[in-house]
């Protein structure tokens, strides 16, 4: 399979990783999953853009550090299909769990982790929603003859073709479970997630998808409007794009 993104990497600058798993070494007993903030600058337009990766589940301290880092930008363009989060005058605090105890919540509880949406301050003043509404998502999927089901099925197939060790949560349910040991499950999920970035590139290899290409278009439209805004001409600009890695993280129970 010819992958546009990988081809680009071959012919141009090396493409960055945004998620990685640090294995135990002879000098360090620590094993941890990491996500990156990668900085890009355009001297011509005096613009700095940071790509800020986040995963759906992590340690509380991780989300608190990200919240602190995200305060430093003029604007944080965040991805979240649906409507904007309402602005609140209150500082960020954990949201009450007012929805049924979902599969993800059960997994998060088991692993001793926290959920992104409960800890990231999406109501911060500098946060700007930059994603599709559900209607736009489904309309675009109809145009492309895609659906969430077919997209996730394709991801699952790619994962099972051996091109990636697994697909995040789904892999835990398809042969990687290790006798109910939460640490082993945590380790395996971390390894899988660190590899799943490659799946997104493979998924995009045939003209793109709504869930990646079209959603990214929505972000870039808002970003470019901010960069080219007349009122900010000639002044330094510092923006962030806040996105979730890996693509496979939210695969649901409905994927077989």
């Amino acid at each position: 399979m010819v992958l546009p993104i990988l081809s680009f990497a071959k012919n141009g600058p090396e493409v960055s990783d945004f998620i990685r798993f640090k294995e135990r070494t002879s000098t360090s007993k620590s094993e941890h999953l990491e996500t990156a903030i990668v900085r890009y600058e355009n001297p011509g337009t005096q613009t700095t853009i940071d790509l800020v990766a986040v995963i759906h589940i992590g340690d509380r301290l991780y989300f608190q550090k990200l919240n602190a880092a995200l305060k430093s930008y003029q604007t944080v363009f965040y991805e979240a299909v649906g409507n904007d989060f309402p602005k609140s005058k209150k500082p960020a605090e954990p949201k009450k769990q007012n929805i049924p105890f979902s599969d993800r919540q059960q997994a998060v509880a088991y692993l001793g982790l926290q959920q992104q949406r409960n800890w990231i301050d999406y109501e911060a003043k500098n946060f700007v929603h930059a994603d599709l509404s559900w209607k736009e998502l489904y309309d675009l999927m109809a145009i492309r003859n895609q659906s969430l089901t077919t997209t996730f099925q394709k991801l699952h197939r790619l994962s099972n073709q051996g091109k990636s060790p697994g697909s995040g949560m789904a892999s835990a349910a398809t042969g990687r479970l290790t006798g109910g040991d939460p640490l082993e499950l945590k380790r395996n999920m971390a390894r899988s997630m660190s590899e799943d970035e490659k799946l997104a590139a493979q998924l995009e290899s045939h003209g793109g998808t709504v869930i990646v290409t079209d959603r990214n278009n929505a972000v870039m439209e808002k970003l470019n409007a901010a960069i080219n805004a007349p009122e900010s001409e000639g002044t330094p600009k510092k923006f962030a794009i806040f996105f979730t890695e890996p693509l496979t993280c939210p695969i649901s129970k409905n994927v077989s």
Binding site: Y40, I99, S102, L148, L185, P246, P250
Partner: protein
Amino acid sequence: MPDFEKRLLKDEFIRKAETWFTAWQVSEPGRPEASAVSQFLKSLNSGKAENVDATKFFGDGRTTR
């Protein structure tokens, strides 16, 4: 993700630096709740790939990726 990076590099942005954040430590003890994980895995394994109600899965009608 690489797609964003590809777009930025095409627009003459130059990659400058990267900072890494620890999302979770494997060495930290989890909270073994056997029934919860058992139910979670059972539901994953028995699911049908039809009639996905995304808003129901994502709980509050919003989701990131």
